[in-house]
């Protein structure tokens, strides 16, 4: 049977707003996070190979590039958590006014960077 359901228009035809930026970033970070979790699954699996085989992974994770990846992942997780919390609040029926969506969108964007720093400091036991 032919499905004539309309598809979503492609994102480039919309004018950019904070809400649309948060929305598309939510999807992109969601995909990044699940890819990262899959890599983490392989990282955990690599532990079964023993200490000697782990040396390369350790060197990589201690490199600037390795640290940059972990920092980027921290931001991606932070963004997803804040954006998910925003979605849950909206699901409860709050925050649909145009001005409020702009403010909460900004909180998600700026908050994700603040949360990244906080998580990094917390993880490294600086706070």
């Amino acid at each position: 049977m032919e499905n004539n359901n309309p598809l979503s228009p492609h994102i480039q035809i919309y004018r950019w707003h904070i809400s649309s930026l948060v929305s598309i970033s939510h999807r992109i970070t969601g995909i990044i996070n699940i890819v990262a979790l899959t890599v983490i699954c392989f990282w955990i699996a690599s532990l079964l190979l023993g200490e000697n085989s782990y040396e390369f992974t350790k060197v990589f994770l201690n490199s600037i590039f390795g640290k940059f990846i972990i920092l980027s992942l921290t931001w991606s997780f932070s963004f997803q958590m804040l954006s998910e919390a925003r979605h849950l609040i909206m699901d409860l029926g709050y925050g649909f006014e145009l001005k409020t969506t702009k403010i909460t969108g900004l909180i998600v964007i700026i908050g994700s960077f603040v949360l990244t720093v906080l998580i990094y400091l917390l993880g490294k036991q600086f706070i």
Partner: protein, 109 residues
């Protein structure tokens, strides 16, 4: 309750569970990622970590499978391709956490 409502409800419940699990995991990941082999294994093989990482994997893949199926719904018109894509994602979302949980419960310090 229709299928779309059920899917939406599952998405919301899993996201409520996921947010604190993600926060816990990312803080610990930052703390452990560049440590020695022994420390990394010790983290993944202690009892609370085993349970929390397992829960994170189950809920994260479940949530992702549901979210990705939403994206397929938005952008794929052909029903056959959409069903095949959904099946592939669902199989992946079952196998990955399952294998990881088996590995975590077999890790020993």
């Amino acid at each position: 309750m229709n299928r779309a409502t059920k899917k939406w409800l599952f998405l919301k419940v899993s996201s409520v569970v996921l947010v604190p699990l993600m926060a816990w995991f990312i803080i610990n990941l930052v703390s452990v990622f560049n440590k020695d082999y022994i420390d990394v294994v010790a983290f993944f093989s202690n009892q609370p970590s085993k349970i929390l990482v397992s829960l994170l994997m189950v809920f994260a893949y479940f949530f992702s499978a549901l979210s990705i199926s939403e994206i397929f719904e938005d952008y794929i018109q052909d029903e056959k391709i959409k069903n095949a894509a959904n099946k592939a994602v669902n199989i992946f979302a079952i196998i990955m956490p399952l294998i990881t949980i088996i590995i975590i419960f077999n890790l020993n310090t």
